[in-house]
């Protein structure tokens, strides 16, 4: 367990310069995520078009892990279909919680989040934005989605 596994350069960079940060006009959903442990709040703005994430932005004040995770997430899901974004949510969830998660290589930059698993107290920081995304995708879905696993 090493600090530099947690605070990788990608994480520090996205914390310092979060991408897609700020409000979003004509959003289809504005969803607030809340981490009761630390009191951090995250607002996610999502615009869907043709069942794709046409645009996504976030706001809020959080720790480096939650800010970087949200920033990386917005980059990763922009342009993806709803189903693809939900699939990514599941894979990140596994990456953060399941020691046997294997597809780290296929995750690109998001693989930087794999160090969080070694710091159980911080998993919720990294997963907050993803849960918020899942509920935003659900709330904008024309039909009910198959149950999204969370914990």
């Amino acid at each position: 367990m090493e600090l530099k596994d947690l605070y990788r350069d990608v994480i520090l960079d996205h914390n310092r310069n979060p991408r897609n940060f700020g409000p979003l006009a004509d959003a289809s959903a504005d969803v607030e995520g809340y981490n009761p442990l630390c009191g951090d709040r995250l607002k996610l703005h999502l615009r869907m078009a043709d069942d794709r994430v046409a645009d996504i932005r976030f706001e809020g004040e959080g720790c480096a892990i939650s800010t970087a995770s949200a920033s990386l997430m917005t980059e990763a899901v922009k342009g993806r279909t709803r189903a693809e974004a939900l699939d990514l949510f599941q894979r990140i969830h596994a990456l953060l919680t399941d020691d046997a998660a294997t597809d780290v290589e296929t995750l690109g930059k998001l693989a930087a989040l794999s160090g969080v698993r070694e710091f159980p107290a911080r998993v919720k920081c990294a997963s907050l934005c993803w849960h918020t995304l899942a509920s935003a995708l659900e709330s904008t879905s024309p039909e009910p989605l198959p149950a999204v696993s969370t914990e």
Binding site: M1, L3, L6, Y7, L12, N15, R16, L37, C38, G39, D40, R41, E61, G62, C63, A64, I65, T67, F119, A121, R122, C125
Partner: protein, 418 residues
């Protein structure tokens, strides 16, 4: 006793911190390969060997249920439990053991007052007065009882230092104010409240006073009769005792008038299907089998405190806090949150560009344990417009060298995020 000259920052009486540390087994452990620096005493303090031994001795030689058996073990357990109550009584200088109700801790004590004292008494339009710096345990039970009764919760302000001004609280004491509930010491800011004056002002207006002593009892010295409050609540785990045990001091006259809060065994004199006669104080408020080993441990913690030179210990804690404010204050971009003129042994702070949670993780890797977050005082965070703070809280077993390690680790965290 050694006299020191010059430096204000040195305890004026000799305090042998290394000798004290040897009494606390956990202080010998390491975390992530570094000697533990435990600076989260405001959340829970550590226990001396005497407390651990007392609990072990109780469990291995005396354990049985109390107040229920004629057999030897039950009598021994009962005697030890009541002895702990007597120690607590003496520690806070209550007039009688009937005034000491043993409970789970501060939270349970305040809920008991809210439900058993306040709920039957409050009428729509009555007011419960608290302050802006309360722990959630001294906010939510009042919100609940206000919702149940139609009473209103009134909140006295704090200033930019995190101080509570007695005049500002007094200005809010009106004809409908029934209860004043305030902290003795703030857990988020360290502010020591002017409780003596607040209690006196409230009493002169016929307002019942509730003091949340969770952060004060181990560090300030509490005399409930000198203070004159009606209720005083505290937790064992913040005064070197076990978790799950604490006490409520209540003035006998009020406790007598209050209905029991929970029903069950131990709180009755006689039960039949046509009615029940409740036990005398304090048993009336102690339904069910209590935390006997916890009470024994808390009694041992008080005996430990009684054996110490508490004035010297408190000067040491004060010196630690001043040293921490100096060394942390020298770090670029660090801001101390809570700069009251009367402050207990803790320092809350934020660092530009580094979220408190990241500070907490980085410090932990260096063996330094602090608390980060909102400290169950979200309104305080809102007041200072910060989402969270990092908080180092001290006990008499902490050292100046530990504070230096804290400051070095915070500086390391700051550099990582440059």
């Amino acid at each position: 006793m050694s006299e020191t000259t010059g430096a204000l920052r040195v305890p004026t009486r000799h305090f042998d911190v290394e000798a004290v540390r040897r009494e606390f087994p956990i202080l010998g452990r390491s975390v992530h390969g570094r000697p533990l620096v435990y600076l989260d005493n405001g959340a829970s303090s550590q226990s001396p060997a005497a407390v651990i031994a007392a609990v072990e001795d109780y469990m291995s030689t005396h354990h049985a249920n109390i107040h229920r058996g004629v057999h030897t073990l039950s009598q021994e357990a009962t005697a030890l439990y009541e002895e702990a109550r007597e120690r607590i009584r003496r520690f806070v200088n209550a007039a009688s053991r009937s005034e000491i109700v043993l409970l789970r801790g501060t939270t349970e004590a305040i809920n008991l007052i809210a439900q058993s004292y306040a709920r039957p008494m409050l009428r729509p339009g009555d007011e419960v007065l608290i302050t802006h710096l309360e722990h959630h345990a001294n906010i939510v039970p009042w919100q609940m009882v206000c919702a149940q009764t139609g009473a209103t919760l009134v909140v006295a302000p704090i200033d930019e230092r995190g101080e509570v001004h007695a005049e500002a609280v007094e200005a809010l004491m009106g004809p409908r104010t029934r209860i004043l509930a305030c902290a003795h010491v703030s857990n988020a800011l360290g502010t020591v409240l002017p409780v003596e004056r607040l209690v006196a002002s409230a009493r002169s207006r016929g307002i019942v006073t509730v003091v949340d002593g969770a952060q004060a009892v181990a560090h300030c010295g509490v005399d409930v009769r000198a203070l004159g409050c009606d209720f005083y609540a505290f937790s064992g785990h913040k005064m070197y005792g076990p978790t799950g045990i604490g006490a409520l001091y209540g003035r006998e006259e009020l406790l007598e008038r209050m209905p029991p809060w929970q029903g069950g065994g131990d709180m009755i004199l006689r039960v039949s299907f046509s009615g029940t006669t409740y036990a005398a104080l304090p048993g009336k408020f102690e339904a069910g089998t209590p935390n006997i080993s916890g009470a024994v441990g808390l009694g041992a913690a008080i005996a430990f405190l009684d054996s110490m030179d508490l004035d010297a210990a408190r000067s040491h804690e004060e010196a630690l806090r001043l040293h921490a404010e100096d060394t942390l204050g020298a770090i670029a971009g660090l801001r101390v949150i809570g700069t009251a003129r009367r402050k207990a042994g803790l320092v809350s702070f934020v660092v530009d560009g580094v979220h408190p949670h990241d500070i907490g993780t980085i410090l932990d890797q260096e063996g330094v344990a602090i608390r980060t977050g909102h400290h169950c005082a979200m309104p305080v965070m809102d007041h200072f417009k910060v989402p969270a703070t990092a908080r180092a809280s001290f006990a008499f077993y902490n050292t100046f060298a530990e504070i230096d390690r804290l400051a070095a680790a915070v500086e390391h965290a700051r550099r990582m995020f440059l």
